[in-house]
Amino acid sequence: MNRLPLSRVTRVALVSLMSLLAIPACSDDDADGPYADPHPSKGPGEETPDAGPPDSGTPDSGTPDSGTPDAGPTVWPQEFTCEGKETHALTFNPGQEQQLQNAVNDLKPCTTITLGAGTFRFDNAVTIRQDGITFQGAGRGAQGEGTGGASSTVLDFTNAAANTNGLDVVGKLFTLRDVALWGAQKDGLRVENSSNVLIQRIRTEWAQPNLPTNGKYGIYPVKSRYVIVEDCEAYNASDAGIYVGQTRYAIVRRNIAKQNVAGIEIENTKFAFVEGNTAIDNTTGLVVFDLPGNPIQGTDVLVTKNTITGNNRKNFASDSGSSSTVSQVPAGTGTFILASRRVEFVGNTWGNNNTVDIAVLSGLAIEPNPVLWSAGFFNFSTSDVSIHHNTFLGGSGGNVDSGETNPASRPLGYLISNLYAYGKAAAGVDRVEHVMWDGIDPAPRNENVANGMHLCFSNNVVPATTKASVVDLDLEAVQKKLTAATPDIVGAWAETRRYNQGAAPFNCSGFSPALKLP
């Protein structure tokens, strides 16, 4: 493969570029309405194998590397069914925690577990390793409610043994609904290696905001298939409120994520439909990305009708010593797209995100060694990103990292902040544009191809005061100039290029076939 330009930058630049942005991975849930059939009957088309040709590094971004959902309605395969099988029902009330623990460890398939209202206090995770299980409470309660009321069921893990999740599930045809998971040591809900999963009307929360010691993920389905997360709420996770990882076919809709480091994350996931969610007051709102070393190549992600505003919370993730954490995302990042392909944003609303509404980044910005991306057939590049018919409210991009830049822990924010401080003084550009493209993909960069990765920004509503909407930052060049022995801020600024909405080369119109909600 081609030698990547990033490998030739100075060591300082490389080190800092490597850690520009980092996202955590894992270390590892109807159809028409909120009360409709618990498992979807319709879904995207047949799954296609991941193993595309290892076409790494070549700037052929235009070709989708995976199958796309067909237009016609198809049925999500159900890997397990309870039809025709004996079903079982168990009921528990507060005070019966040990009985519940014994029961979930001896479950028969196709059992419905119903929890009465009130507070269940657990000293260990609740684990489920059986198929056809429904786990339901009396209601998720309201934000801040750590004690169950007359119509809510709170599973309190505050005093659980260290190193345990809250609810920890491996199973086919799993449904969880109407409970709150409170104060888990690690993840609130972890569902792994499961299929036909419905997570509905639950709440995950930690008592105190802004604590790095809070659990990592609120709702975390990973390495699964056919997952729906809907009408849920996630608060105060020290990593991500809702994190769908390494999953094929997922619907994430009508959820609320607030006060997390990252609100909603779609990671290494094929065929994800993210609709009607609210991501407010996180460090970063709603993000789509792949991580290196994962065999599932994320593709075909439709993000629509979401509200992603005011994500300016100080980054409170634990930040000591790892290269690979969400801790390095600057506060005020509405959305970032990284190492992603075939991602469509339509009908969403962004605004009041201090750093930028949308950052479009290459995977090489976090991991420059392409070998480490080999598991996903060198899926570091971002391509085919279409952002159209959205609304940008404004108020974004004027206070990078919410004014608390830190070159060591969040170097990307530091770099942008310095660059735009100069831009404001020299060129009157007083805020980061709505979309910031790092200019890396397709790598190596070809200056003669203005938009080789096929990033489209068109037909969006932007404030009347918006000057330019998209910036090609050419991060590699900017970085090199800013980190030279004699920093060259003038030269660095000159590497950036701005484009108005509707102007070439970003005035393209999506891709075909279009993504569709099931």
């Binding site: 029961a103 460890n105 260990n124 990592k216």
Partner: protein
């Protein structure tokens, strides 16, 4: 508290066990607890234990599903068949060879006496064994026994877990002395974990039994138990206080699992591998090699001459092997049940710590974790020459929830183990990973 809680078998018992093994065949019953040690079992004829399915799960899965109820009330009876058809309307009995899971440990008839009486010991045929290097679990003392049904034998494997027959029962009792400076006094067993090999399609299943405060009985606790603020005095005289976690049945799979080609997870024992069993144990008066002992009882087939049997050293005896071998052995027994190419965490992390892995990248040299999260001490799993910037060491050394490894099974740091890995990493030729 009394001591010792599990006495060693006398020579007579060993001889008796050998005699029983020699004369007994298989068991024709559909199910059984185990063959009583004193039974002549005259009528037994060997039955094949293959080709079974019988649809639903066996009676082993029945106990305790009713919340708040003691599921295994029929425990301890020989006629396990009664348990089978009581639910689910399945008219088929359990597959032949199925072990009925009793609600009390005593129901297995694998031990006599009690820890309270100081005479808790395995019956003849329930063979105690030790490992050359055991897995660390919060400093607990562990007593292991292996019961292989009459007329059956394990099949030797040079690398893998011994192929143990259907009906095999492995027990491991976890105990703490009040003061590790006097490790045989005031020993308090907390739990006995039982692994049972049932007929297919069930395979290995795991059951935790928690000892009562009187130390007279251990009772099935499918949901596990947390001994809050449990404490002991360590070898330095320092009191250690922590929450001791008896794992739930489902949590047993966290360590005891392997993923097959269809991506299904199966339970598997960890320590019963030739290399860890290849050591002496005193069964009567004379120490004897455990593998040879099993073979001489007719419980192990295919054992090659001693010189050909691999041996994992005692990781903490510098006289047995060099630093690298000892460190790799420690990682193999403590980490490789997850960190291997056939276990989910290994597949995800691509960090393989089993003894067979030789390429440095898979072992973590200068390897970035895909998903370490924040604050794990470094950027790379192993930075050669620098243990304190190596994530591998950090995870072994830390006691912080969410960062420590293994994920369950310890709340305390294994000082000696972390030091061994630190020494190993520091002895590597230094290398910058950047």
């Amino acid at each position: 508290m009394r001591s010792p809680y599990m006495t060693r078998l006398g020579l007579a018992a060993v001889l008796l066990a050998a005699a029983v093994a020699a004369c007994s065949g298989g068991n024709e019953d559909d199910t059984h607890i185990i063959d009583p040690p004193d039974a002549g079992d005259a009528g037994d004829a060997s039955t094949p234990d293959s080709g079974l399915d019988a649809g639903d799960s066996g009676p082993g899965e029945d106990g305790g599903t009713d919340a708040g109820d003691d599921g295994g009330t029929d425990a301890g009876h020989e006629d396990g068949g009664t348990d089978a058809g009581t639910d689910a309307g399945s008219d088929a009995g359990p597959p032949p060879g199925t072990v009925t899971i009793p609600n009390e440990l005593s129901g297995y008839n694998l031990f006599t006496g009690t820890p309270a009486g100081g005479d808790f010991k395995p019956v003849e045929g329930n063979i105690p064994y030790e490992l050359t290097t055991p897995l660390f679990s919060d400093y607990s003392l562990k007593s292991r026994t292996l019961y292989i049904p009459a007329g059956k034998a394990a099949l030797y494997s040079a690398d893998a877990v011994l192929d143990l027959p259907v009906g095999t029962i492995i027990t491991k009792t976890f105990a703490f002395p009040a003061d590790f400076r006097e490790p045989t006094k005031n020993v308090r067993p907390l739990e006995t974990r039982v692994l049972v090999r049932q007929p297919q399609p069930v395979g290995w299943v795991a059951y935790p039994y928690v000892w009562n405060d009187a130390l007279t009985e251990a009772t099935l606790a499918s949901g596990g138990k947390v001994f809050k603020d449990f404490s002991f005095i360590d070898e330095q005289g320092v009191t250690k206080k922590f929450d001791y976690l008896v794992p739930q049945r489902n949590q047993c799979q966290k360590c005891h699992h392997v993923v097959d080609e269809q991506d299904n997870q199966h339970l598997l024992p960890i320590g019963v591998k030739a290399r860890y069993l290849n050591r002496d144990h005193t069964y009567g008066v004379q120490p004897v090699n455990q593998l040879q002992h099993l073979a001489s009882l007719g419980k192990l087939e295919g054992l090659p001459p001693a010189a050909q049997v691999p041996r994992a050293p005692d990781a903490f005896n510098a006289g047995e092997a060099d630093l690298t071998q000892r460190a790799r052995t420690y990682l193999d027994i403590n980490c490789a049940h997850c960190h291997n190419p056939k276990a989910q965490p290994g597949i995800t992390s691509r960090l393989f710590l089993d003894i067979k892995t030789t390429d440095e990248f898979s072992l973590g040299y200068c390897k970035r974790p895909g998903s370490a999260g924040g604050g794990v001490g470094g950027e790379f799993d192993i930075v050669p020459g620098s243990h304190d910037t190596s994530i591998l060491w950090f995870r072994m050394h830390t006691e912080i929830s969410g960062k420590m490894m293994p994920e369950i099974g310890r709340a305390l740091r294994h000082e000696a183990g972390a030091q061994l890995i630190a020494d190993w990493i520091d002895a590597m030729p230094p290398r910058s990973c950047k």
